[in-house]
Amino acid sequence: MNGYNFAYLDEQTKRMIRRALLKAVAIPGHQIPFGSREMPLPYGWGTGGIQVTAAVLGPDDTLKVIDQGADDTTNAVSIRRFFARTAGVATTTHTAEASVIQTRHRIPEQALREDQIIVYQVPQPEPLSKLEPSRAETRRMHGLAEYGLMHVKLYEDITRYGHVSISYDYPVMVGGRYLMSPSPLPAFDNPKMDMMPALQLFGAGREKRLYAIPPYTRVTSLDFDDHPFRTTRAPHACGLCGARESYLDEVVTDDRGGRLFVCSDTDYCETRRAEGHVGTELAV
């Protein structure tokens, strides 16, 4: 597109972000400050993720953008179109065809490969933010690997509710060293981050932090020996494709209590339907 540098950001800015990304990859899970720029979308809509994507995108890449697993929601559509126009890259909705995937709140159901990069949009990079208000102090805690406080939070949850009540943004330890916020992923997706072949990059635009998980890195969700980490999903099959393993969205369909459970990953659902799987809602 005329008047814009490739992928919107100027080359110096992209270089600065890449330098921060290299640092982030070198220290898995550690938050690296970077000079976050104003982007033509509001904070909270993925300003961090979009800058990381702009920095890693090349002319030969194929981009996929998902928002809560869906390819067709406002955030996903507008970011995908943004890069189609400013970088002229190919875009896709198929997980397998994409080389760069920018995501908000989900990891695709289909396993990622070594030649793919997944970019997460992160609102709050600091996993200890709700427990310790001082950033100076949380930095010190990261530096000294003092993470007892996070377990106090889990202890309180089990004491009050009988189980850990964190359903998204469930804290993880990366490479046995750094405590990391996995962005507001459902805890269901946490196991997918462990030993993932793809490079995982995280960008928080408002908070001006980047972090990363290199391929094949140990990512463990915090837990107690006698209260091991467990994932939860709605105990239903997808109404459209009948999947029983995927993460489901609950959709209210009328004002008489009608509801539909469907895969949150739209590409996964469509692929299954194309393969001939049919859920109860479509069979009628």
Binding site: L149, V152, Y155, R160, F224, D225
Partner: protein
């Protein structure tokens, strides 16, 4: 005293000096603490008691002088030359700090059990059931009913908060505990119970203690040795009974004679 006994000191300080502008907080202070011993630092407000406690515990650096700590393996370490992680690890495990105001130390939004368990979790305990059981055991030791384990500290009375703070501090079996006016701000009957509790726990667990107090009665009840401070200097030091029954320095004499007796 023989050389070998001298070698056994848990904590020793030599020539500590610290000034805040024109105010001399510490003036060439020496101090020694043996394992299992309770040392009281007494003196009036502004005499440098709390500053000395902060310097001994590594929370504040002196302008000159050195503080040695002997760890469980017998190695001597200069507290102020230690790396920050090593010092923090020491504060989490071997040492404890009891504040005058328990709200400074406790997490008011976390249950009593979570408060007691925090140091265990910081040391790597990862078994919920064991942490909880240990917390309940410690609440019993500080005479808090086990049914309060899931209650928030804000529902506790002042004396209970102070006892909860002590449980939270002692749960990791520290070798050395620093106490800053542990009975300050409590009414007299609660003070008496708390002093009794501290004395019992310290004796039974063999914990060494540096205790700052302005209350000579507290010093007499808990401490084997006492140091009297005035304007940043140690004016008199010795066995508690000796110093309090036969004070030599005019300031100590004044302090002892000014105690009200009912």
């Amino acid at each position: 005293m023989t050389q070998s006994a001298h070698d056994e000191t848990l904590l020793s300080a030599r020539g500590l000096n610290l000034r805040f502008g024109n105010v001399i907080a510490l003036d060439n202070v020496d101090a020694e603490l043996w394992p299992g011993e309770v040392l009281a630092i007494v003196g009036e407000s502004g005499s440098g008691k709390t500053t000395l406690l902060n310097v001994l515990s590594g929370r504040m650096a002196p302008q000159s002088g050195v503080v040695w700590y002997r760890d469980a393996q017998g190695h001597l370490a200069d507290v102020h030359a230690m790396s920050a992680p090593a010092l923090r690890a020491l504060h989490r495990s071997d040492w404890g700090f009891v504040h005058q105001n328990p709200r400074d130390n406790l997490r008011m939004g976390v249950t009593a059990g979570g408060n007691v368990g925090e140091r265990l979790m910081a040391q790597g305990s990862r078994h919920y059931g064991n942490i909880r059981q240990e917390a309940i055991d410690w609440l019993a030791q500080v005479e808090i009913d086990a049914s309060r384990v899931d209650h928030l500290p804000r529902t506790f009375s002042g004396g209970m908060l102070q006892r909860l703070q002590i449980a939270r501090t002692l749960v990791t079996h520290p070798r050395l505990v620093f106490m800053d006016e542990p009975t300050g701000g409590l009414d007299v009957s609660v003070q008496a119970r708390l002093l009794d509790l501290i004395r019992t726990l310290v004796r039974r667990l063999g914990i060494a203690c540096v205790l700052v107090t302005h209350d000579l009665a507290v010093a007499r009840l808990l401490a084997q040795r006492v140091m009297v401070m005035q304007a940043g200097r140690v004016v008199e030091a010795g066995l508690t009974d000796q110093v309090l029954d036969d004070p030599q320095h005019p300031y100590t004499q004044l302090l002892v004679s000014s105690v009200l007796s009912a």
